[in-house]
Every structure is written in C-alpha cells, then in structure tokens.
C-alpha cells in the first residue's frame, strides 16, 4: 500500500516536472529564435505575467474543481459577464468603482452557489450544468449590452494603469533612457491568490478534503467527510475566483463586450491539465497550473511575436498541447492500473 502511494506521487511529480521542463525549453527556444526581437528581455517575461494574471486566478479555481473530479466550463463566459457588468455599472449606471467590484464578486459567489448546488446536491453532471452556465453567462452579457463599452472611470483606470517598477533588470532604449521593468497590481493579486490557494490545498484540513473527495468518494465517506458540501464549496470557490479573474481581466482590457474571453475555459482547463491535474480527480497542484498558464502564454507569445501567423494557430496549438497531455495522462493512468493489478 505504502509502495503504491509512493509510486503515485512519483508519477504525479513526473507530470509536473515534464511541464516545468517544457516551459523552460520553450522559453529558451523563444530567446534563441527571436533574439533579434529581444525576446530575452525581462519585460517580455513580465508581460507574460501581466497578460495572464486573470488566467492564473481562474486556473487556480479550475484546479480545485478538477481535484474534486468536476469541471467548470462556464469560466470564460463568466469573465465576459463580469467585465460587461463592471463596464455597464461604471459607465451607464454611475456606480462607483469599489461598489462595482464588490457587486461582481458577490455575483461570482452566487453563480458558484447555483452551479455547486446543481452539481453537488442534485447530482447533475458538472459538464451539463456548467455548459448551461456558460451559455447563460454569455447570453446575459449580450442582454446587458450588445455594444462594446469602454471604461473611463477615473478610479478604475488609475488602478489599471498603476505601475509597480523594478529597480533592476531595466534596459536602455534608443534615446539612451533607462526603462525599468514594471508590472501591474493585477500580477501581485494573482500571485497572492496563487500562494494562498497553494497553502490551503497543501497544509489545511479544509484543502485536503478536496483531494480526498476526488480521489475516492467511498473512502472519504468512510472518513466522515461531507462529500456534497466539499464539492459544493469547490464550485463556490471557482465562482469567486472567476469573479476576481474577471476583474483582473477587465483591469487589463478596460472594456466590456460580448465576445470577450472566448475560449478562456479551454485555456484554464488546458493549463490545469498541462500542470498535472488529473481529469479523473484526486490529483493536482496549483503550482503546476501556474506553469501551465505560463506555457500557454509562451505559446501565444511565440506565435504572436513575429506577427505573421494568425491567431487561430494559438487555439489549435493549445488544443494540440491539451490533447497531448490528456493522452499522456491516460497512458500513465492505464499503466498504473496494470501495475496495481500485477
């Protein structure tokens, strides 16, 4: 039994190591191929974080849901909905920035509660529930407004444009001025949430329940864990993180429109899967998902950097990568099963 546990751990860390190596390999590849275009600059890496801050938060939520054995494909649409809500409230309703942000956070929790109730207490397949949620949120976005709304709220834009500068690693531009690398507060928020989630999942009893439920419902029932409540909470957290992700996304784009964040759910699922979260539940790590997000971001940067290939290639490349990792998981999983039988 002990031996099996050890083996499982090795296998899971194997997936994580594959992910981390893949990320560095891709990044170094980018540095070599695009060295004329300054791919190696520190700022390019920071831009990767800036552009994907929202995705990091959402991938954390997705990871928790996937650890319990579920899935949430409503995240992309909900990001669009929260951006649209922010834009609409601040620009058309005259709501203050702070209140608007709070309302969006509450909406996220409510959205999570509804989905969680349907999945955990009515035992409906998570995919069906969140598929409905996905169409609901996207449709709701269209109901609020079918035109693009740009956010001009002073407080909100001041948050969005506040730069945190690093005193090192800068470069000298053509005019001979030193430009320090910078990040936006969104990155800090995303990283804080990442660390908190990591600590909760790893060291708290509350967090370890998710693993227990996803690993084996039977045993967790025997352990006295309330399975339904645990799964319910996973969706509520995901909804809350989606709202935070939506706000971060909105800080990045400062606008709301219907087609926003299309395919975001795919990015989040791909990041989690690439980071070693098993689709069957019970195994996962937000650090892996973080690297998954970075890999996705690197692919995007690599494809967009020369500015020749169309954006469709990003979708296809991510889908291909997702397929690769899913198949890898499946192969490793079936090997493990055979090992367990023998």
């Amino acid at each position: 039994m002990n031996l099996l546990g050890k083996k499982k751990l090795n296998q899971n860390s194997f997936l994580l190591i594959v992910t981390i190596i893949l990320f560095f390999a891709m990044y170094i590849f980018g540095c070599i191929v695009f060295r004329d275009l300054n791919f190696g600059r520190f700022q390019v890496f920071l831009n990767l974080m800036i552009n994907n801050a929202a995705l990091i938060v959402i991938a954390c939520g997705m990871t928790i849901v996937m650890i319990t054995g579920g899935i949430d494909i409503s995240v992309g649409s909900f990001v669009a909905l929260s951006c649209m809500m922010l834009a609409n409230m601040m620009e058309n309703q005259g709501v203050g920035a702070v209140q608007a942000v709070l309302i969006v956070l509450v909406t996220g929790v409510v959205f999570g509660i509804v989905q969680g109730f349907l999945v955990a207490y009515l035992n409906i397949q998570p995919f069906i529930v969140t598929l409905a949620g996905m169409f609901f949120a996207r449709g709701m976005t269209a109901i609020i407004s079918r035109d693009m709304i740009a956010i001009k709220n002073e407080l909100f834009t001041s948050w969005a444009q506040f730069r945190i500068r690093f005193p090192f690693g800068g470069y000298v531009n053509r005019r001979g001025k030193v430009i320090d690398p910078y990040i936006y507060p969104t990155v800090v928020i995303a990283l804080v949430i990442l660390v908190i989630t990591f600590i909760i999942l790893r060291y708290s009893r509350f967090g370890r329940r998710f693993y227990a439920v996803g690993g084996s419902e039977q045993s967790s029932l025997l352990m006295g864990i309330n399975i339904r409540r645990t799964r319910f909470i996973a969706y509520v957290i995901s909804g809350f993180y989606c709202a935070i992700g939506g706000i971060l996304f909105c800080l990045n784009t400062c606008s709301g429109f219907v087609e926003q964040a299309k395919g975001f759910e795919m990015d989040a699922i791909a990041s989690a899967v690439i980071g070693g979260t098993l689709l069957t539940g019970g195994v996962g790590n937000v650090i892996g998902s973080f690297f998954g997000v970075l890999i996705k971001g690197t692919i995007e940067t690599l494809i967009n950097f020369p500015g020749v290939l169309s954006s469709w290639w990003v979708r296809i490349a991510i889908a291909a990568l997702l397929a690769f990792f899913i198949i890898l998981q499946s192969v490793l999983g079936s090997k493990k099963e055979k090992g367990a039988r023998a």
């Binding site: 409906i124 598929l131 169409f135 079936s334």
Partner: protein
C-alpha cells in the same frame, strides 16, 4: 419487486414521450395565442410559406444532430460538444474543394458529389478522433470533445483562410433551399431520410441493443462478449458523419462556409433536444423519436423567441434555463426530494385526519 419495476418502467416510458410532446404543445399554444395566424400556410412563388413550414425547415440540422447525439449519449453517458465545430469544418472542406481555394466562384472547380463526400469524410474523421479519445483512451467524453470544440473552428478558419467562401452556383443551393418545382424545402427530406435510415439501422440490426447495453453497463457488456470500445467508437463516428451532413445543409442554406457562425451554439440545442426527448444523459436506454420531438420543440422555441424580439446572442440565456430545469427534473436526487416531500405531506394529512 418485478411487478413494481415493470410498472415503474412503464411510467418512465410514458413520461418519456409525454414531456417532449407537452413542451411542444406548450410552445405552440403560446404562439397561437400571440399570433392567431400562426398555422396559416400558403403557397408563394411555388413554394410553401408559413411559420410551421419555417420551423420544420429550420429544425432539420438540429434533428440530424440530435439523432447522432442520442446515440453518443446512450453509449458513452457523455455528450459530444464538438458537433457545431464539426459542422463548420465540414462546410469549410466542402466549399474548399468546390471553390478550388478561391473566395467566391460562379461554377464548380470540383464535382459536387465527391466534394460533399469529402466533407462528410472530414466529419467522420473528426468523429473518429473524438471516438478514439473517448473509447480507446477512456477520456471523459466532454473533455475529449472540448478539444475539437475549440480547435474545430480554428481548423475551419485555416481551411477557408479566414474568409467566407461563397459558392454562387444554383445546384449547390438546392440542398439547403428548394429543389426546382418542389414546394417543400429540401432539408426536410434530408432530415426525414436520415431519421428513417438511422431508425431502420438501429431497430432492424442489433446495433441499437448493443448501444443500450454498453450504455447501461460497459463492463458487463464486455463480459457478455460485446466490443464496448468499438461500439462507443462507432457512435462517435456516426455522430461525426451526421454533423457533417448537417454542416453541408447549413452551408448550402447560405451557399457559403462561414467558419465562425455555422452551427454556432447548436451543441447546446442538440443536448437539449436529447434531454427534452426524455433520454437520460446518464446513458443507457434511448428514444430517437423523443429526441426528434425535442428538436422540433427547441426550434419552435427559438422561432418564438425570435418572434418576440430576442436577438440571436441573447437566446442562449433562455435555453440554458430550460436545460437546467429539465435536467433538474430528471435528476434522481430531485425526484427523491419530491417523494420525501410528498410523504411528509401525506403524513401530515394522515395526522390531520386522525386528530380531526
């Protein structure tokens, strides 16, 4: 016990066709009340014209998809969410061959039927990829099909080079519109043909039974000697082919391949049709007839919403609510709650009678 089970099964079968028919009736009644001349059908320019004709015509793609989806749901207890994207791929492949890579053509650069077959072949290929992932690699159906759901439209865009390819030839439009001299739209014939062929195939061969058996219990079917993997794989290929046919009909309607919009949001409609038709999304027994009634109901609902003035991108909200309600009603947990509640009520009544 046996009799109890039998009566319960009888109830479910009864319930199965009752729900979709009741919903269809409800939607039609709403229409009749809001627009009194709803059932008015006339012949204009030699073709039938009217709301009912429009609903039956527009539902054709959905009927075709729902048939494929029913088999997939029955066999694998999961849904294929890539059907809309596969439609786009098929349309892109077909028009690519017909146009020879041009953006707009006035005559075929490639014979029509081989091009259609190639398009459907592409659909079958997509289905085979999904089937491989689900049946052989044992990946959850919706995650497996999520790959094509996102990548499919990208592939279609690559084939059409991000443009909308127009085929301005009359005979290409026959498939999605009217054959010369025939007052009934062609898609209706195509959907009826598909339904009859599939129904014959499922009922007259053992395939339907195999699918149900695999859906009820995969392991047990394996022990009985059924090749579960092959059967699930076959249902996905089947679904791919049917999505392909639907894609060609949709493409022919607008004599072009619009990778972004062909089959958009149809996956939800197809799942909805299956669920509305009384089929359990947990796999097992299925009724194609139920799904077809479900498909017509949804199209009637869509047309009604359009008539009320809801725009295309807002419609998913209402459909999502309908999905959640139907699936909640179907869920065994919910039924248990209801039963508990009823018992409580009865107990209360009994107590009331005793005290009275």
């Amino acid at each position: 016990m046996n009799g109890d089970l039998k009566s319960r099964l009888g109830k479910i079968v009864h319930y199965k066709l009752f729900l979709p028919l009741f919903c269809l009736f409800l939607v039609l009644m709403v229409n009749v009340i809001t627009t009194p001349d709803f059932f008015h059908v006339e012949i204009r320019n030699g073709v039938l014209y009217g709301r009912p004709v429009d609903i039956i015509n527009r539902a054709s793609e959905l009927v075709i998809l729902a048939v494929g989806m029913t088999l997939v749901v029955a066999a694998s207890a999961g849904t294929d969410i890539s059907v809309g994207a596969v439609m786009a791929v098929t349309a892109a492949v077909t028009t690519f061959f017909l146009s020879g890579g041009e953006i707009s053509v006035n005559e075929y650069q490639f014979p029509l039927f081989p091009a259609i077959l190639l398009g459907i072949g592409a659909g079958a290929l997509c289905g085979a990829w999904n089937g491989f992932l689900v049946a052989k690699m044992r990946i959850q159906p919706m995650v497996a099909t999520l790959i094509l759901y996102t990548a499919g439209r990208g592939i279609a865009q690559l084939i059409t080079k991000g443009q909308i390819t127009y085929i301005r030839v009359d005979s290409y439009q026959y498939i999605g519109n009217f054959l010369p001299g025939v007052p009934i739209p062609t898609p209706v014939f195509i959907s009826i043909a598909v339904v009859i062929l599939v129904q014959l195939f499922v009922k007259k061969t053992a395939f339907g039974l195999f699918v149900e058996s695999v859906g009820v219990n995969k392991e047990a079917s394996k022990h009985v000697g059924l090749k579960s993997v092959m059967i699930i794989f076959a249902t996905y290929v089947f679904c791919g082919v049917l999505s392909g046919i639907a894609g060609i009909v949709a493409s022919s309607r607008i004599y072009s391949a619009d990778a972004n919009n062909i089959g958009l949001n149809l996956e939800l409609d197809a799942i909805l049709a299956v669920a509305l038709g009384g089929n359990s999304l947990g796999g097992g027994r299925f009724s194609i007839l139920g799904s077809i009634i479900g498909a017509y109901t949804i199209q009637a609902l869509t047309t009604t919403l359009y008539a009320i003035g809801v725009s295309a991108d807002q419609i998913p909200v209402y459909k999502a609510i309908v999905v959640v309600i139907i699936v909640s009603l179907q869920s065994p947990e919910f039924q248990r709650y209801v039963r508990k509640f009823r018992k409580k009520l009865e107990a209360k009544k009994a107590i009331g009678e005793v005290t009275a």
